[in-house]
Amino acid sequence: MGSVSPSPAQEFDLTKLNPIYDAYKHVVNGALIPVLQAAQEAYGYLPEPVLEAIGEHLNVPISQIYGVVTFYAQFHLEPRGKHIIRTCQGTACHVRNASRILESLKNTLGVSPGGTTSDLQFTLETVACIGACSLAPVMMVDHDTHGRLKPDLVPKILDNYRN
């Protein structure tokens, strides 16, 4: 498995944007963020051609849109996996070998933090303390917390999420 980067040649159905534009056509100023949110809902993430189209439609420079999208953590420029893995790198986890958990995740998935597997099953992210220090080292998959992890447990846990 390698990480995906959306190929620029990839086609996007831009007509999906039309109902979104319609919904916000009465907003004179400040339509950008709700339109971006709705577009992300429609496409799963915000690919470059979609952002270009939105910029053209709302007459907002693409640079500015990029600025907004990278400022807010809610927006994603890359496709997201079906399951989001958040592995903790906080202090308590760190002293309990969180780095080896991360290594195991990287090896199992073949992606680095921020990356998504090419089958779009998993996105790997790191966080600093998720408030479950007593279970360190900890990771979350979607809303499930997995504690007292060992590197060799990781592949098994992930398998439970595959389908």
């Binding site: 640079s63 500015q64 990029y66 990278t70 400022f71 420029l77």
Partner: protein
């Protein structure tokens, strides 16, 4: 509106216009509050907090660059609290900044370095954190080093507000904040016109000009090559500033001497081809006016403007004059006409130009700029690069005697010289068009109505019965207004339009010396008008070398077959 306001700054009373900022008021009484994100060419942004001052009664320190004065305000610009706050800001910037001053293009001309020096910073109390952004070297004209970016946003504001290209944005948050084109792309992958204005307004070495001096030196050191150099009109009123002269110093003679001392074999003048451009362009204009074809006609000597047109208004390209820029006309002639006259093998000629412009570095590499059978202009050095080259040769510039340009392509008239400022190309063209059409001598050479720094200026000129409406725009924001009017059907009925990509024209091009004088544009423009007044010839059609070229090489006419082969370019949209 003449309401005034009186306040106290550092125990001195000062009266200023309402609406002025604390920073502006302080300047009036000789107090220079340091700034970084603020610049007189762009709107305040209040992001860096280097300019903080203490306002009596206020809890927090105020940003002087944007704080409007009010009656009775009491301000301290140098209290211990202020000094400590400023120092903290600069120390934090330095902690995140590479310590590259020795090898940085902005060494000794860097606002961050100067600020650290003037605040007396001797130690940085924060751990150094390593910046890791890759360089962007994709542009033919500019290099971006995001590691040296202090996030002042000047480039963001200039490129979007003045040039309406909006290339840059702030991206990301916190520690990974950066200023970048969209999607972290390289400058060559976005709609950047290469005007280079961002490299002038950047306070640090984060945006610099691509340095081509090594290639030029290699040619100079090659005994087999004949290195021919041309100097653009605006360079003669810019270069001196690098050597401490006031803005608007005319240094033509010293520049020629310096170029000869550096080892250029022939030192010639772009003013020569500026005059030739006028002959070609006035001929083209009168033809197009008569045939009412592709009107209005727009000048085409500013390559940043050509890029803008191609990127943003490709449908209107047929309005461009087909004339090449003076630089490219010069290049095409250097390896044909000049080579013949001088008995030189064109394959051995290396053609270099000294330009106020960063977009010229791209223009000379365009595929259509090879009409001599070779690349017409091999290398372009900006005025700033020439300044650096002169320094590296140990030449004491201000003590150099004056020399004249070499003959054949070294003579320029006053009309050629004013090509370097907004309105100058139009004025030069009108001087010639008037005399060609009316067959009479112009009563007054100065077309005062089209001079100045108004963003979009208009005039109606009466060529004895033929009335023509001209417009002049400088800065791409104003150019965009002109293009939008043309899209709307040219309601003001313009016939002839001059556009220069840089605000002020070439005198403040992206390759010119960086000035901290708020009036530097008007001072350089005034210098070109002075140069014009002092020259013995002031009309392009009076240039004897251009006349000789026409007679001996162009078949006795402008706009003829030979001209079209060498001096014009089939821009997209023109049928040929």
């Amino acid at each position: 509106m003449s309401k005034t306001v009186t306040l106290t700054i550092d125990n001195q009373s000062v009266t200023v216009q309402a609406g002025v900022t604390i920073w502006g008021a302080a300047r009036k009484i000789g107090i220079n509050i340091p700034t970084l994100c603020h610049h007189f060419d762009v709107k305040p942004y209040s992001g860096c907090r280097v300019c903080v001052v203490e306002v009596q009664g206020a809890r927090a320190l105020a940003a002087a660059c944007s704080f409007p004065v009010t009656d009775g305000l009491v301000v301290f610009t140098n209290s211990p609290k202020v000094r400590e706050a400023r120092r903290l800001v600069v120390e934090l910037l330095l902690a995140n900044h590479p310590h590259d001053c020795f090898t940085c293009a902005r060494n000794q001309n860097c606002e961050l370095q100067a600020l650290a020096q003037s605040l007396g910073i001797k130690e940085i109390r924060f751990p150094q954190s390593k910046p890791t952004w890759p360089l962007d070297e994709t542009s033919p004209s500019l290099v971006r080093d995001p590691n040296k970016c202090i996030l002042c946003g000047r480039c963001v504001r200039f490129c979007s507000d003045k040039q309406t290209c909006s290339v840059y944005t702030f991206a990301n948050r916190g520690f990974s904040s950066t200023v970048t084109p969209a999607f972290g792309k390289g400058l060559s992958e976005v709609k950047c016109t290469l005007c280079g204005q961002c490299s002038v307004i950047c306070p640090t070495g984060a945006i610099t000009v691509k340095d081509d001096t090594a290639k030029v030196l290699e040619a100079i050191n090659d005994p087999d090559k004949v290195v021919v150099v041309q100097t653009a009109p605006a360079t003669r009123v810019g270069l001196g500033e690098i050597f401490g002269n006031a803005p608007g110093s005319i240094v033509t003679g010293q520049m020629v001497t310096a170029l000869k001392r550096i080892g250029f074999d022939r030192v010639l003048d772009t003013n020569f081809t500026a005059d030739l451009t006028i002959m070609e362009e006035a001929t083209e204009f009168l033809k197009r006016l008569g045939a009412n074809k592709h009107m209005p006609m727009i000048t085409s000597c500013s390559p940043g403007w050509i890029n803008f047109m191609e990127m943003y208004y490709p449908d209107l390209i047929q309005h461009h004059s087909t004339c090449k820029s003076p630089q490219q006309m010069f290049g095409a002639l250097a390896k044909t006409y000049y080579a013949q006259k001088e008995g030189l093998d064109p394959a051995k000629i290396v053609s270099v130009s000294i330009m106020p412009c960063t977009a010229k570095k791209f223009e000379c590499r365009r595929p259509e700029m090879k009409s001599s059978g070779y690349q017409d202009v091999d290398y372009v050095l900006t005025t700033r690069e020439l300044g650096q080259l002169i320094q590296s040769f140990g030449l004491s510039f201000n003590d150099l005697p004056s020399s004249d340009y070499d003959p054949i392509m070294g003579c320029g008239t006053g009309a050629g010289t004013i090509f370097g400022n907004t309105g100058g190309v139009m004025e030069a063209a009108l001087r010639t068009a008037y005399e060609v059409v009316t067959k009479e001598t112009l009563p007054a050479l100065e077309f005062e109505t089209i001079r100045g720094l108004g963003g979009l200026r208009e005039a109606e000129i009466d060529l004895k019965g033929t009335k023509i409406k001209v417009a002049i725009a400088h800065g791409l924001g104003n150019a965009r207004k002109v293009m939008d009017e043309l899209k709307a059907g040219n309601p003001r009925g313009w016939n002839f339009i001059e556009v220069m990509a840089c605000p002020g024209g070439c005198i403040s091009g992206g390759g010119q010396p960086i000035s901290h004088d708020i009036n530097y544009r008007s001072k350089r423009i005034a210098a070109l008008y002075t140069d014009d007044r002092n020259l013995p010839l002031r009309k392009s059609h009076d240039n004897p070398e251009v006349q000789a070229l026409c007679k001996e090489f162009l078949g006795g006419e402008y706009g003829g077959h030979k001209s079209h082969e060498l001096l014009h370019t089939p821009l997209k949209g023109h049928e040929h």
